[in-house]
């Protein structure tokens, strides 16, 4: 069986990513868009595009009934949810299946077992995979949290039980911090996952976030494709990911890979998924959660394995077996991904809205760009601030870093602040270059003034260009008035 038409129920770079693979496979694509996304690149890229409602996600990209109605109307035989939005919504997976459409991801039952985070912890623990000390059921209330705290000891992490991805987490280092943390985490959990439930875990200090990419087919084959170190985070959300993990040796890699397969097998997992671990400085590790979807950072794994994870997702969703087993998985070289976000790194990574009015894409040897940008493009406040992913491959880690840094410094995005200056900084910062970093890295290293040191020559050039711009006065950008359009208009529009 092979799909004829896939509904890509997402937007931005990931919608384009999925559309590209479909096109290469000869599969038609349909997509959906909210009222403010009519001019978004995914609408132009797909073969078909359907409006599904207002700007707010609940009115459009989270609206299960409308999305399924579009899939039926357009005659799609599969729905790819991308990441975020409905990608980890078990009810959506169930509804898609009930409509007789293939869901590109694990079934609702599996998503439910892994999506509720205490349920996932119970599952991992039962399978013999270590989990952090803490609650194995959602906390009942703040008093319950206080009781658990006394047992587990400080510091702890208060986390939404209803969903993952680093959203809504709060560290509690003393009893006095609990009320504010409880309030904030409950609020964000409700906003992000529609459920206030929280769990508590002992915080592992100076840990690295290391995750294992998996693929599982419906015929019982589960393979792991290597790990990614995603410790460079702000607000518990990733900014830079790389593979291999600089602190992961072959023994730890094999152990994590086996643990990830154990979790997936215990859950009856199908399709692409990621098992996240925290690794302590001494190499001890605990299961964190399993993401039941494609990850933002999947391209680094694609670059070192040569695989197309979206193509394999589609194959698995169509019921086909994986075309290879664990022994056939090869990894070569190193890859690193930079998430170029609409955030101001000089202002606490505050998300930015605005209009992108000039972009220069980086390219050349070893560079892949998965971009959701176009010029011009209005970046709204309603969705994820991710604009593009710059991914570099090299034969080894230093080469991958050198390429990523070269490319990051080539890239220009004008119109609103982006994370690019942060990336340029990290890629030259000695601790990162030496592979010495953990999830505290951003807090410890990024206290960067808005005035990085530039050479005297660069400052002079900047000043002279500034004066030249001032003197030149306003004038149109690259013109659209070709002789043809002008004369044709004169001829026809009188």
């Amino acid at each position: 069986m092979r799909f004829r038409k896939v509904l890509v129920a997402n937007r931005g770079e990931i919608a384009l990513r999925v559309i590209r693979t479909c096109r290469e496979l000869g599969i038609a694509t349909a997509t959906v868009y909210s009222d403010i996304d009519r001019l978004s690149p995914h609408v132009r890229a797909a073969d078909e595009a359907y409006p599904i409602g207002g700007a707010a996600p609940r009115d459009s990209y989270l609206h299960i009934e409308r999305i399924i109605a579009v899939a039926k109307r357009a005659g799609c035989d599969a729905i790819h949810p991308g990441y975020g939005f409905l990608s980890e919504n078990a009810d959506f997976a169930d509804a898609v299946a009930a409509a007789g459409i293939a869901f590109v991801g694990p079934p609702g039952t599996v998503q439910r077992a892994l999506g509720e985070k205490t349920s996932a912890r119970r599952l991992a623990a039962a399978a013999g995979v270590p989990v952090a000390e803490g609650t194995m059921e959602p906390l009942r209330d703040e008093a319950d949290a206080r009781t658990v705290l006394e047992r587990v000891g400080y510091p702890v992490l208060l986390k939404p039980a209803g969903g993952g991805g680093g959203k809504g987490m709060r560290i509690v280092r003393s009893a006095a911090e609990l009320p504010a943390a409880w309030r904030a985490a409950t609020g964000e959990a409700t906003t992000a996952f529609g459920a206030p439930a929280l769990l508590m875990e002992r915080l592992i200090e100076h840990a690295r976030h290391v995750e294992v990419q998996l693929l599982a087919d419906a015929h019982g084959t589960v393979v792991w494709l290597g790990e990614r170190d995603c410790s460079i985070q702000r607000r518990h959300q990733k900014l830079i990911e790389e593979t291999p993990g600089p602190s992961v040796d072959d023994a730890l890699r094999a152990t994590l890979g086996a643990a990830a397969v154990t979790v997936a097998s215990a859950a009856g997992y199908v399709n692409a998924g990621t098992v996240e671990f925290l690794v302590a400085p001494d190499g001890a590790f605990v299961f964190l959660e399993m993401n039941t979807r494609l990850q933002v950072e999947h391209p680094v794994t694609e670059l070192v394995t040569g695989l197309d994870l979206v193509a394999l997702q589609l194959r698995v969703a169509a019921g086909e077996p994986l075309p290879f087993g664990q022994p056939e998985v090869r990894r070569s070289g190193a890859a690193i991904e930079l998430r170029i976000t609409a955030e101001d790194p000089f202002a606490g990574f505050l998300p930015q809205a605005g209009r992108v009015d000039f972009v220069r894409d980086p390219s050349g040897p070893g560079i892949r760009l998965d971009s959701g940008l176009a010029v011009p493009l209005t970046i709204p406040t309603e969705y994820d601030p991710l604009l593009a992913k710059l991914i570099a491959w090299g034969p080894d880690r230093p080469a991958a870093i050198a390429r990523a840094r070269r490319a990051a410094r080539e890239m220009i995005v004008a119109g609103l602040p982006t994370s690019l200056p942060f990336h340029s900084f990290v890629l030259a910062e000695p601790d990162f270059v030496a592979g010495r970093y953990d999830t505290d890295y951003v807090a410890r290293h990024w206290d960067h003034p808005r005035t990085p040191e530039i050479t005297e020559g660069a400052a002079l050039a900047t000043a002279l260009a500034g004066l030249a711009r001032l003197r030149a006065g306003p004038r149109p950008f690259v013109g659209d008035t070709t002789p043809w359009s002008r004369s044709a208009r004169e001829d026809m529009l009188r």
Binding site: T191, P351, R409, A461
Partner: protein
């Protein structure tokens, strides 16, 4: 005309001559400026050193891969700056960087704040964002109440620095 230019962490005094040359401090600079993308990107070659300069926003500039701030003042502004410039900067306005919900106000009118103190929490893009004081001062005015939905650019808090 003479200009005081701050580019990144450097300050330059530049005088433009009618022949189109530049006096930087007391040095005549023969710069070759070429506008590569109209109004946006310049190529600047000085004594063989080649630089690329792109304008990113109001006062943000990309130069050879680094992002810096630029500030240009002409001689009149510079002269006036001793008196008026200071006074203007003594009043600090916190505005909403994007539309959102003002979840919490952490300060009261009249309270003293230090640089970096959290002033308000704005919920936007599904995240709670703490907006902080850029300079120390006293809260002169709280313009919006907790729980209010605000537009991008809306005035939230005024702080007086002296």
């Amino acid at each position: 005309m003479r200009y005081a230019v701050r580019a990144g962490d450097r300050e330059l005094t530049i005088e433009t001559t009618p022949e189109g040359r530049f006096l930087v401090g007391d040095r005549v600079v023969a710069a070759d400026l070429a506008e590569a993308v109209p109004g946006r990107v310049w190529s600047v070659v000085v004594d063989g050193e080649a630089h690329e300069v792109a304008f990113l926003g109001d006062d943000r500039v990309w130069v050879d891969g680094d992002e810096v701030r630029i500030d240009i003042a002409d001689e009149r502004t510079v002269a006036a700056g001793r008196a008026g410039g200071r006074a203007a900067s003594a009043r600090q306005e916190l505005r909403a960087p994007m539309p959102g919900l003002l979840k919490r106000v952490h300060v009261a009118e009249g309270s003293a704040v230090h640089e970096g103190d959290a002033l308000v929490t704005l919920e936007a893009m599904k995240m709670e964002n703490e907006l902080r004081a850029a300079h120390a001062g006293t809260v002169a005015r709280i313009a919006v109440a907790e729980g209010t939905t605000v537009e991008g650019g809306a005035l939230l808090i005024v702080i007086r620095s002296e």
